[in-house]
């Protein structure tokens, strides 16, 4: 008390006492952030470190491994948990005037070096908002209803859960009641997915359902908002920047690239959640490994074999497209592909044509432009991907050529789909099932064409077709 009076009298000092800066607290809570990239002033951060509200740790940790003959340096990145020696760079650092090490694995989020600090919030926790509004007016099919109830039961019982729902079953809606239950208990929720496109599709829908709740969408290139959001919708990549943050975590499309291929992403999910909470999974194409994992953890399992409109999944038809690579490379579009495209153009239906490689797609673009100039192409590195998908939905673009990047998450009413080179290795059975899942999603247009153009039928193509047929023939149990 005496201290406070003293500070008030001498007005040259700005009193900060033990009160934390609310904006800094709300931003940093649950995050692990590169100090030099923080949206707050260095002065403010230093103050909070002195107050004991912010902890720091070095960006890269050195683990020297001694074995009998060799002394080898190993490193681990304290942000992304990368420990692959090929992804660390030792260099002479002009700032420290000595040798430093940085991590290349997460460099696009700002370089983390052995001489850069990561900061964490260890001060008072943000005040939790109490009034959440749940404004969802849709109705569930009995299957959705059941899955939604089972998910909430698993969350309450603190056990893992897998929702296995066919493409177009309405799996996002299933999450709404569970999210609301968590919000009511003051929990913080993350919905994470490997794909930016899925984040872009999910975020506005979830925000709409919870209009009074702060929701942040995080993906590469998204703006950093300086507030506390009880709902975070993020790419799994962005979870590198969280630690001990979430009371509930839902991983959507866990089987999508690159999540299954990148162990550090799986670690990121584990690190971002509070240590004692399980992970909830939602996908149309669970891997055998995931199903096994859930079984082993004695987690809950919900299965939805039907689309919300009750119509069956479109079954692919096969069309041979012999030597399509050679034909496209010699600037000739295969005849069947031309006929298919012309048909969609005549009937004024939006369409997606999937290609196995960017290179082949780029060779095909000018050939498609001879049929119709208003056809666009998208791939992973395309900065205008989001706009192009919106334009297809708004019918401003007639059709899109794409790589597997659009296999998931997007919904375009009445879209017709072709896969060129369906036998290529990149088109796994789950990729093909997901691609097929784009067709016939809307209530008004529940069917549509799904064609696999191929140079020989692959095992994966057959596996996908078999699985689609199996799902369509699954006995509907009464609920």
């Amino acid at each position: 008390m005496r201290k406070r009076l003293f500070k008030q009298r001498t007005k040259t000092y700005r009193y900060i006492g033990n009160l934390e800066n609310p904006s800094l607290r709300d931003f940093l809570a649950g995050r692990i952030w590169l100090r030099e990239h923080s949206p707050f002033s260095e002065e403010l951060i230093t103050q909070h470190i002195q107050l004991g509200y912010i902890a720091t740790l070095p960006g890269v940790k050195k683990i020297s491994k001694m074995n009998s003959r060799f002394k080898r340096m190993n490193y681990i990145c304290n942000r992304c948990a990368n420990n692959n020696p090929n992804l660390f760079v030792t260099y002479y650092c002009a700032a420290c005037e000595q040798t430093c090490v940085y991590c290349r694995h997460c460099i696009s989020m700002g370089r983390v070096s052995s001489c850069s600090d990561l900061i964490k919030w260890v001060g008072p926790t943000p005040r939790k908002a109490a009034n959440h509004l749940f404004s969802w007016t849709g109705t569930f099919t009995p299957y959705q209803q059941k899955a939604s109830k089972e998910l909430i039961e698993s969350i309450n019982a603190n056990r893992a859960h897998l929702i296995h729902a066919v493409c177009g079953a309405g799996k996002t809606e299933i999450l709404f009641p569970a999210i609301y239950e968590c919000l009511k208990e003051g929990k913080r929720i993350a919905v994470a997915t490997p794909r930016t496109d899925v984040v872009l599709e999910l975020a506005p829908r979830i925000q709409q359902v919870f209009p009074k709740t702060k929701t942040q969408a995080l993906y590469g290139g998204a703006d950093v908002e300086k507030n506390y959001a009880p709902i975070i919708i993020a790419t799994t990549h962005q979870l590198y920047r969280f630690e001990d943050a979430f009371d509930t975590i839902i991983v959507d499309e866990a089987d999508a690239f690159p999540y299954t291929h990148d162990e550090t992403l799986q670690q990121a999910v584990t690190k971002a959640k509070k240590s004692d909470v399980p992970i909830m999974y939602v996908t149309a194409t669970p891997s055998e490994k995931l199903i096994y994992q859930i079984k082993k953890l004695q987690g809950g399992y919900s299965f939805i074999p039907r689309r919300y409109h009750g119509h069956p999944l479109p079954v692919p038809r096969y069309e041979s497209l012999w030597r399509y690579t050679k034909q496209i490379e010699s600037t000739r579009l295969p005849k069947k592909l031309v006929q298919w495209t012309k048909k969609q153009l005549q009937e004024n239906k939006p369409f997606l044509i999937f290609f196995p490689t960017i290179a082949l797609m780029e060779k095909a673009i000018p050939l498609f432009h001879q049929l119709e100039p208003n056809i666009q192409a998208v791939h992973a590195e395309d900065p205008n991907r989001k706009e192009k998908v919106l334009e297809l939905r708004a019918k401003k673009v007639r059709g899109l050529l794409t790589t597997t990047i659009l296999e998931r998450g997007i919904t375009i009413p009445n879209v017709q789909v072709a896969v060129v080179g369906a036998e290529s290795g990149i088109f796994t059975s789950s990729a093909l099932i997901q691609i097929g899942g784009r067709v016939g999603r809307s209530f008004d247009c529940p069917t549509g064409d799904l064609v696999f153009f191929h140079h020989g039928i692959s095992v994966e193509m057959d596996r996908a077709t078999k699985e689609i047929k199996r799902l369509n023939n699954t006995e509907l149990t009464t609920i």
Binding site: N86, V89, Y91, C93, A94, A95, Y102, R104, I107, S113
Partner: protein, 200 residues
């Protein structure tokens, strides 16, 4: 040894080619797909007879420069070492990098132009020093041309009676190089040419 492409992280097919054995060429650190995205500047496309630029400033090069300078990914100094070596190894000249302000070197943690030369093992001499800390690219073309001296001769520099070659990462208007050249000429350099990685 590096086994993945520095730019796209795909595995590198590491094979020792005859070219590498005979020409003592360095092993590539990027894959052929990434490599094919860079466009060499043809002799007739050079903007000035005194400036030799290696590559065009296309999308791939923009990404490269961004990752190298702004993400501070210093390993990328090795990406163009064969091309840089080919262009400069046999130049009988004093190699003079365009300098960075010492404050700027500290924040970036390395001098990106010096590193390009170090990666190739080309000896260089710093004859100039930067006076202002502001960056050229944040100014308009007019501002750049009107701006006061950017550099000064380093104290106690000895100018040899040999051709000089200035080294920069990118040439856009040529103002930077013009300033640097004027100083070297005034100090007694018999001729000053320039080499840049990129033509903007």
């Amino acid at each position: 040894m590096n086994t993945i492409c520095y730019l796209c992280s795909k595995p590198l097919k590491s094979r020792l080619t005859w070219k590498q054995l005979i020409m003592y060429e360095q092993q590539a650190v990027i894959c052929s797909t990434c490599d094919s995205k860079f466009e060499l500047v043809k002799p007739e496309e050079q903007k000035s007879p005194d400036i030799q630029a290696l590559f065009h400033y296309n999308e791939a090069m923009k990404d490269f420069l961004h990752q190298y300078k702004f993400f501070k990914d210093i390993v990328l100094k090795d990406v163009f070492r064969s091309e840089i070596a080919k262009a400069l190894k046999n130049a009988d000249a004093v190699i003079v990098p365009i300098p960075m302000h010492p404050e700027k070197i500290k924040t970036r943690t390395f001098a990106h132009i010096d590193e390009l030369l170090k990666a190739v093992g080309i000896p260089y001499t710093h004859l100039l020093e930067k006076i202002t800390i502001e960056s050229q690219s944040s100014k308009s073309k007019m501002e750049r041309e009107q701006s006061a001296q950017l550099f000064q001769l380093k104290p106690n520099s000895i100018i040899e009676n040999r051709p000089h070659i200035l080294i920069d990462d990118i040439v856009t208007t040529g103002t930077t190089l013009k300033h640097a050249k004027a100083i070297l000429i005034a100090a007694g350099a018999p001729s000053v040419k320039a080499f840049t990685l990129i033509q903007g």
